[in-house]
């Protein structure tokens, strides 16, 4: 019960849960995907699955940037950082992600100059502070992070800082959703849309999902009440046979997105013809590279990148879990060979990965009912 008093509007959560039960009162089975890893984490942490009726199934989507990064890209980045003149800078999230020869943190322990930064602008600062070295910033993330990398590159160019480059692994969410919808085993009916990606891209880029695919999508916040309200909005649409884009997270997400952020991205980035997603294979126009004007700050143009390709272990069924065909615990490796401490598959790596979230929180169900179950 320790969380109960801390939730915003517990009485409203209770009412919303009741409304969900009423709306889902039929025999119908509802399959919804939460696209964003932050939502996946929140759903498990808050025990939201416990208060949803059994005929509402939440499928965990690909919106965890660490999880979808192919191991070969990590190997590529670390291979470049073997050069003693190079400082390898990356977000803390990346540090434990395994490459074939170990994670960035393990490479650091072996003497590689690996630095954690919390902002791309601090990677640029490292370059300013170490003019005799070259700083490679290992950039990851969806549209939430890409504008910050873009602005940092604009600053590097404006200041003429040439000992800095970006190894760009930024990906975009829409093509991944397109790939999921196009998969032959796709059985999804609706989407809980990402919250903070949408502060940048707005809601319009989702319109094709409603219009062409006839699937409802609701952009959602991260609080328990936000997610439950989004489920209500989706159920109302599904029951009425409608398919619209709706914005539950209006207090943060403008319908048109963030124009400054989109402008910075357009200035710096171009779409790659295709990019490999871990567990999902190559997806066309799903990732960003630096434009010609920024070639001097592009790690892939400044250095010879080995282009390492690593096949995921066959037994790991990350792709099936990502597409919602399998539950995390249905994978053959789950909880045995593959754990958050020693991840084999991509989805076990980050707290936003569905396997790690499932592993960390699902066992609580067995020991005690969640706080939300009590108030709902």
């Amino acid at each position: 019960m320790r969380f109960v008093d801390e939730f915003r509007s517990p009485e409203l959560i209770s009412k919303t849960a009741e409304e969900i039960r009423r709306l889902a009162g039929s025999e119908r089975h509802y399959r919804m995907m939460e696209v964003c890893g932050g939502h996946t984490h929140a759903i498990y942490r808050f025990g939201l699955k416990d208060i949803l009726p059994e005929n509402i199934e939440l499928i965990h989507g690909p919106g965890c940037p660490v999880c979808v990064l192919p191991m070969g890209r990590i190997d590529d980045g670390l291979a470049l950082a073997q050069d003693p003149n190079v400082i390898f800078a990356a977000f803390g999230d990346m540090m434990r992600v395994p490459g074939t020869q170990g994670s960035p943190l393990e490479h650091k322990a072996r003497g590689m100059d690996v630095r954690i930064v919390y902002s791309p602008s601090d990677a640029l600062k490292l370059a300013r502070l170490n003019p005799e070295r070259h700083v490679i910033f290992f950039a990851i993330g969806f549209e939430t992070t890409a504008p910050s990398t873009a602005l940092t590159l604009m600053r590097a160019k404006a200041e003429g800082i040439r000992n800095f480059s970006v190894f760009c692994n930024h990906v975009t969410i829409i093509p991944a959703m397109r790939a999921i919808l196009a998969a032959p085993d796709m059985r999804l009916e609706a989407f809980i849309g990402p919250g903070h990606v949408s502060t940048v891209i707005g809601c319009r880029p989702y319109e094709w999902i409603a219009k062409a695919e006839h699937k409802p999508i609701v952009v959602s916040g991260f609080e328990p009440l936000d997610i439950l309200q989004s489920v209500v909005m989706l159920l109302r649409q599904l029951n009425a046979g409608e398919a619209k884009v709706e914005n539950q997270y209006k207090r943060v997400v403008p319908w048109e997105g963030n124009a400054s952020a989109l402008k910075a991205m357009a200035e710096v980035f171009a779409l790659r013809p295709h990019f490999e997603w871990r567990g999902m294979g190559f997806i066309p126009e799903s990732a960003l590279s630096l434009r010609e004007e920024y070639a001097e700050w592009d790690t892939e143009r400044r250095f010879t990148v080995p282009g390492i390709r690593v096949t995921d272990p066959k037994a790991a069924q990350c792709g099936e879990v990502l597409r919602g065909v399998l539950k995390p615990h249905q994978c053959k490796l789950f909880g045995r060979e593959c754990t958050p401490e020693r991840p084999v598959g991509a989805l076990m790596v980050s707290s936003e990965g569905s396997c790690a979230a499932y592993y960390n929180y699902e066992h609580r169900k067995a020991t005690a009912p969640s706080a939300l179950t009590m108030i709902a």
């Binding site: 915003r8 929140a42 601090d122 600062k125 300013r128 502070l129 992070t145 903070h196 207090r251 952020a261």
Partner: protein, 103 residues
């Protein structure tokens, strides 16, 4: 990485002074924010169309303000981070901005 950190704008300026002695670097827009008592400089360049002023609350992602929010939403977001068990990670991130406590 999807979670954002709420902060209050304390000061807005266009110059990031570099304490290392390597001179100052000009940034079109930066600001001092306070997150749970910790003050750090962040980049406001992604809010050029809707510039925040001191006293405004913003959501911060990787050292950049991404959107303006209300004070109540900021408090709710802080609470969400706490409930998600992400508050320590969030504060570690904020404290690390500007390479203050790392490297």
């Amino acid at each position: 990485m999807c979670l954002a950190i709420p902060g209050k704008i304390i000061e807005v300026s266009s110059l990031i002074s570099d304490p290392s002695g390597h001179g100052s670097s000009w940034s079109p827009s930066s600001g001092l924010v306070e997150v749970a008592g910790v003050r750090r400089r962040i980049d406001l360049g992604l809010l050029e169309d809707d510039k925040p002023v001191p006293g405004d609350w913003v959501l911060i992602h990787v050292g950049f303000a991404m959107s303006k929010i209300s004070e109540q939403d900021a408090a709710d977001q802080m609470n969400t981070l706490r409930m998600l068990g992400e508050i320590d990670g969030a504060m570690q991130e904020v404290e690390g901005y500007g390479l203050e406590d790392v490297n």
